[in-house]
């Protein structure tokens, strides 16, 4: 707690608030992963952790180190950029893979391929 004592009170409150809110959002997202019943429902849960949690926690650390002026604050910007760009791509591919597997297994609770049906194997 050497460097944290140098924070002025307003910055300290803001940093704490952002950090706690971000951690709470992440926790809610992971709780969704635990509680929601089907895979397609669970697909929505991690986006809360990324869009809410990551941005808030990165903002907290940017604010903390900008006020302390101990180093450049740009790494967090890069982290926000990477996470917001890459997570949708991952989830989209996972959703497609799950849909493909469910169709191969001919489960009844997923929508069929729209007609006219494409020949199997080509997309």
């Amino acid at each position: 707690m050497n460097h944290l004592t140098d924070l002025p009170p307003w910055a300290a409150i803001l940093v704490c608030g952002l950090l706690l809110l971000g951690a709470a959002m992440t926790l809610i997202g992971s709780l969704g992963l635990l509680r929601l019943p089907s895979f397609y429902d669970r697909l929505h849960a991690p986006t809360i952790a990324t869009s809410g949690g990551t941005i808030l926690i990165c903002l907290a650390s940017m604010l903390c180190f900008a006020v302390l002026q101990s180093r450049w604050i740009f790494h967090e910007l890069l982290i926000i950029f990477f996470v917001t760009v890459t997570t949708p791509v991952t989830l989209m591919l996972l959703g497609q893979a799950a849909l493909y597997r469910d169709r191969v297994k001919e489960r009844s609770d997923v929508p069929r391929k729209p007609k006219p049906a494409a020949e199997p194997g080509s997309e």
Partner: protein
Amino acid sequence: MRAWYPYPLFSIALFLMWLLLNQSVAPGSIVLSLFLSTLLGWVMVKLQPSQSRLRRLGLMAGFALAVAADIIRSNVAVARIILRPRGKPANTGFMTVDVDLENENALALLACILTATPGTAWLEYDRRQKSLLLHVLDIDNEDLWRRTVKRYEAGLKEILE
């Protein structure tokens, strides 16, 4: 200039990212990042991504703000659904929306926006039928989601096509 940098925006983004990763503006890293951004710009010519011009920066800013507001609202809504007591499960389901976008970049952007919004997940786009298969966490508001997708589609068309 165009011959040296066939994709100027891409090259600028690479240049800035290299400097950010190195956390320095020393002459050495500037020279290296200039070299890399030029070289990788030429590599992109080989890959031939579909090009589209960015028009109307003001419109883009407005669109980004609208998307950010939607994502925040949907974050709260999904958090509420997750924290619901066990007795009342969420009413989830699949839905199809007709989306008429030809531009590859606009489609990719639409996919990223819809998946980044917690309430909706992009599953499949059929190019021949021009229909999009979504999974939404709150199927009771199907009309609302349909209107949202339509709004995004109109915005992307204005910006990119």
